[in-house]
Amino acid sequence: MREGKVWKYGDNVNTDVIFPGKYTYAIMEPEEMARHALEDLDPEFAARVKKGDYIVAGKNFGCGSSREQAATCLKAAGVRAVIAESFARIFFRNAINQGLPVIQCPDAVFAAAAEDVISVDFADGKIHMPQGSFPFAPLPASVLGILDAGGLIAYTKQRLETERKKS
């Protein structure tokens, strides 16, 4: 289990502050998206985030625009998972479709502080933190299939290939 540092934020972190609209049709590569991740919320994040770090946030994370780059840029920046009290619907789907794990666990959010070093056991459904271990409900099997494939595009590609072989 890889350990990573906590980046802690509040409620209603919206997709405009995660990935500003002015870049949505100008930047197409994930690596470049990563350089602007959370730019309008925490201008230091993109430069200082390390591969395997975690974002821990409050209610309604990812509200706003349907732009999938909000998930893409966090994943490309190295974020291992986003842990929140709750997620906005489209972001939740987009994150899974980008292969970025999203974990709903209010207890862990209340306990976590910025800079804490934590790890997540996805098989076991537990977040291990200095304050203790917090269980979370695992995602449904169908959704885990998309995450395991590395995202929806890879998942759909596999599915189409399987269908072709059958026919």
Partner: protein
Amino acid sequence: MGKTFSEKILGRKAGKAVQTGEVVTVSPDHVLSHDNTAAIVKEFQKLGIDRVKAPDKLVVILDHVVPAAAEKYALNHKNIREFIAAQGVKNFFDVSHGICHQVLTEAGLAVPGALILGADSHTPSYGALGAFSAGIGRSEVASVWATDEIWLRVPETIRVEMNGRLRKGVYAKDAILYLIGREGADRANYMAVEYAGSAAAEFSIGSRLVFCNMAAEMGAKNGYFAPDEITLEYLRDRAREGFDAVESDADAVYAAELKLDLGAIGPQVACPHTVDNVVPVDRVQGTPFHQALIGTCTNGRLEDLEAAARIFKGRRVHQGIRVLIIPASRMEYLAALRSGILEVFVEAGCLILNPGCGPCLGAHQGILAPGEVALSTANRNFRGRMGSRDSEIYLASPATVAASAIMGKITDPREYL
């Protein structure tokens, strides 16, 4: 036990009776994308297939940065046009048509009972016509293009019972801002919002679009008005396909039933930097600003422009204020042109821009500098959305924006009507 409209529409698509909470695999009637079509094409090309499965279902409308503001946008548009031609997509609307949600609606593609998915978070708009419509991401659109299928969870429904009548100078925008302020930005997360009650039936399609468009700002998956005479009248000579309207049963089970007394609401303003940070206009009266925007998919229709024009008529925009008017579509532009109100705007000192999303998402046509403040009829006021992260956005009705533009500070519109 009765069924909600969501259970009925998704059940019909799934070919079986479905219940709230159930995950169904369904085939949509239309899949909308806009300038992001270029990025979706890139994802689609990774799937290892050449052809879109059901090209007649695609609706592609260029609106976000139109006409192209720089070479990179021009290249996106060019790639989209080439893909459209190669795939034989017939519902393609190039840069001259306007904002996707308005264009799809006025083209008669949004009909009662339809299932519409879109790569845009304001796709819930089409519930104004009795459709089930929800926003999805780019990967999902690429996947639907390939498979003609998507999984959806049948949402719980919040019923909003609207009673009373809006007072003079108060509009659908004020009512929905008030509701979002009262209920919070995540109140309807994952849920459908059904606007009902005696007052709901009196709203025009334009006003219903305001309510459903902004349901997204409560976190809703979709919004909905039961189709009625007003819906049928709007669709007469317009609907491009037959339809079978559905309504929620009287004994349908709702997650919550909210009440909204329209007569008790005055003009509202959403303050920076969240849409649920809503106050009555008198609480922020006198707040200075630099740029006004009247338009967007929320408030760029003829009824919105007329409400603003009534206030601008015979008056001048205050010195130091820039007023941008952006009709939601070419058809709304034409209607405004024929009615003579564009002349009112120009005489007052407003700047009229071409139909499109304009500066709403901060890409072009009126970007804010650090320290600047905008007052806008759009649906979002998130930090940095219209430009600098050190700028601010207030949201209000077209009438409030117009009265404020004349006074040079946020103003209650009721004394200017």
